[in-house]
Amino acid sequence: MNLDFSPEDVAFREEVRTFIAENYPKDLRAKQDSGEPLSKDDYLAWHKVLAKKGWVAPSWPVEHGGTGWTPTQKYIWSEEQARADTLAVLPFGVNMLAPVVYTFGTEEQKKTFLPGIYNGEVWWCQGYSEPGAGSDLASLKTKAERITGDDGKEYYIVNGQKTWTTLGQFADWGFFLVRTDPDAKPQAGISFLLIDMKSPGIEVRPIITLEGGHEVNDVFLDNVKVPVENRIFHENQGWTCAKALLAHERSGIAGVARSKRGLERLREMATTELSDLGGPLLADAFFKRKVAELEIDLTALEYTELRTLAGESSGKGPGPESSILKIKGTEIQQRLQELALEAAGHYGAPFLHNLGHNANIGPSYADGVAGDYFNGRKTSIYGGSNEIQRNIIAKMVLGL
């Protein structure tokens, strides 16, 4: 048992910290600070810097571009990025699709798709959920029928609707779960397809969320023609890929480092805001107690995550325990949003979305806290709702 960083780890932390300070794109920083909406290029700016450095995908196997870092180094990396408020590398390609490609794809597929993911040249989106298939993902209905084209090649013709496709409005390609055998048991008839979003028959429609933002989309597929070689793994065995992907989605979801930074921001905010008694809000006994409780909860989650990481380094993949990280991680993020909204007081109410930036109504830190709170409710719903995560623990861990 030892919690200290080795001298090598300390040196690594310095290296990482300096690299971020010297290389984080200045315009991106300015836009983040002012709360301006980000363009497609903005989302990819930091990704491209990291690709050049070779640090885009620390967790990939080294032969595909991973860094070979120890779990401690990966932990330091995520801590330092959060500390510097860097924009997170988009997860769709790097964290969600790539592990499926390098685990289940052919050599040809690895060669075709991994470099584009790594270099941020291809923007990927996820086509999993459907209006009728949320928590019960395996009930998905989007169907893919196999045909022989006029050119003598094999294709799937895909029809259906996907929903909650995050940032799909920017996507070049998408990874989709489709039903290739309507007669098999739900999980048995699914295939994993990669689809060019510019294919004829694809329509992406925005879903506007409660805080007024456009992040998620509906994706309609109307007779979309997909070459059979764009299928990953065997026909009707896409569920195996999906399950592996979901485990990866869960393991990154704890967001400990980001929540730590969120706590710092909350403390700053509560130092400026005044309480009912006139002093800093952070000196208010009620508020201080709530922040303290949250910090303790986050510390517990941090050490649970570290234990999971240590387990992974000894060869265990992210197991069903990663559901703990998802449940607690999202609860903590939501609690942070609750407290930020409480801290803002009256100035939580203004909706300044359409007034542009620097509206100068209330303190700048209060702008958007209500929207973050509303939108943040999604975290206990997406990636397998927290109820589903509890089912996983009950079944897979407790054996109930």
């Binding site: 959920s129 009728g132 298939a133 949320g134 928590s135 019960d136 009930s139 929903t163 909650w164 879903i207 506007i208 969320t209 409660l210 805080e211 007024g212 998620v216 805001e273 005044l274 309480s275 009912d276 008694l277 006139g278 809000l281 208010d284 009620f286 508020f287 609750e338 909204l341 409480e342 007081g345 009256h346 100035y347 939580g348 109410a349 203004p350 909706f351 300044l352 359409n354 007034l355 509206a359 109504i361 209330g362 209500a370 929207g371 709170y373 509303f374 939108n375 409710r377 999604k378 206990s380 719903i381 997406y382 709702s385 927290n386 109820e387 509890r390």
Partner: protein, 381 residues
């Protein structure tokens, strides 16, 4: 012991409910809050002329329906169910409350205008530096001849963009947070020196930041005693909080019932998700929170006629219950609806937004817990 409503009160409820069913569908409301005006003056006109409800809590001498807090409760609960944005709270409950309780010389005339739908009030009490302690005032009213000159800034004044009159709290004496020295003024919104910056709120209302720069008012602008206005503010605030609790009950009912209905129709794993026990228990807890909130709203409304400390304690107790229920029921309504509830398209998310904002209206849960503790255990506790 009697928790029943009179025939008149039941009729009032039916009148409001049936009008809102016809004129306040989700889409109509959404169009209104997105319009430039941000509200529907024609609805207000209908409240005044067709329904006659703007006189609900005023005595018959004043041209009202002869009701009081219970009538406000009935109206506000129905308003909560439809997420009504028109300024009944600012005008009838608060504006009317100040006029009624102060015995101001112009009260009969102004109340007549309220009942007729011509006078619309907004309550400018909050200030940027103050949290929920309403005597924390930097705004000053300085004696000038027979009248006063008002200077200061007011924050997030709900309903101000459509108001004709403002009720403004200001210091005529004492230190920034003293109980003594608080006075209440009636200011024409178009008065010289009043500037407003209008914006929408996250729950579909409109509000303003208001600056008062050397605003001259006559002595008749003073509502209640000079320098001793705080008890009047407390009384009207307590009435406003009780009415907010009633509104919350309407919002919570829609959240709770809407969730039960949705889970019955939403199928996953081949069955309606309402068949899962973990969700059933969650919905039972939501229902319990709703029932407890209704109970506390009745209690608070009845006890508005108590003497100040007992009244305030009852009101704060109710607001704590309401605040907790708004959070629990709101969050779980969203959770059980899944992603759908976070879209702008579905009504449930809009109820959730209002419920969330009600947590902070006229004092957060923490604020009212502290107020309750001080009243129940003494300041030293």
């Amino acid at each position: 012991m009697d928790f029943s409503f009179t025939d008149e009160q039941s009729m009032l409820r039916d009148t409001v409910a049936s009008y809102l069913a016809d004129h306040y569908a989700f889409d109509a409301r959404r169009a209104a809050i997105r319009s430039e005006a941000g509200w529907r003056p024609e609805v207000w006109k209908a409240f005044a002329e067709e329904l006659g409800i703007l006189g609900a809590p005023f005595s018959e001498d004043l041209g009202g329906l002869g009701g009081g807090p219970v009538e406000n409760m009935v109206v506000m609960e129905e308003f909560g169910k439809a997420l009504v944005i028109e300024p009944y709270m600012g005008t009838v409950v608060i504006g009317g409350g100040f006029l009624k309780h102060s015995g101001h010389a112009a009260a009969p005339d102004l109340i007549e205008k309220i009942i007729g739908g011509e006078a619309i009030f907004a309550f400018a009490y909050a200030e940027p530096q103050a949290r929920y302690t309403w005597q924390d005032l930097k705004t000053t009213a300085t004696k000038d001849g027979t009248g006063y000159v008002i200077n200061g800034q007011k924050a997030v004044v709900i309903g101000a963009p459509y108001a004709t009159h403002l009720i403004v709290t200001a210091r005529t004496g004492g230190g920034q947070r003293d109980a003594q020295g608080v006075s209440v003024f009636l200011v024409d919104k178009n008065a010289k020196g009043v500037t407003t910056r209008d914006y929408p709120t996250v729950d579909g209302q409109r509000a303003s930041e208001i600056t008062f720069e050397n605003v001259s008012v006559g002595v008749e602008a003073l509502i209640g005693p000079e320098g001793h206005g705080l008890p009047l503010v407390d009384k009207v605030m307590d009435e406003a909080i009780a009415a907010t609790c009633a509104e919350a009950c309407g919002v919570l009912r829609r959240l709770q019932e809407g969730t039960v209905e949705y889970t019955r129709t939403r199928k996953q794993f081949g069955v309606p998700i309402s068949s899962f026990q973990v969700l059933q228990h969650r919905m039972v807890d939501m229902f319990i929170q709703l029932e407890q909130s209704i109970s506390m709203t009745y209690m608070a409304t009845i006890r508005l006629s108590d003497e100040a400390p007992a009244r305030a304690q009852a009101i704060s107790a109710a607001k704590v219950q309401i605040g907790k229920a708004c959070r629990f029921v709101g969050q779980n309504a969203v959770q059980l609806h899944g992603g759908m509830a976070i879209t702008d398209e579905m009504a449930i998310g809009h109820y959730f937004k209002r419920a969330t904002m009600i947590e902070g209206v006229f004092g957060s849960t923490d604020h009212h817990l502290a107020r309750y503790e001080a009243l129940s255990f003494g300041k030293a506790a």
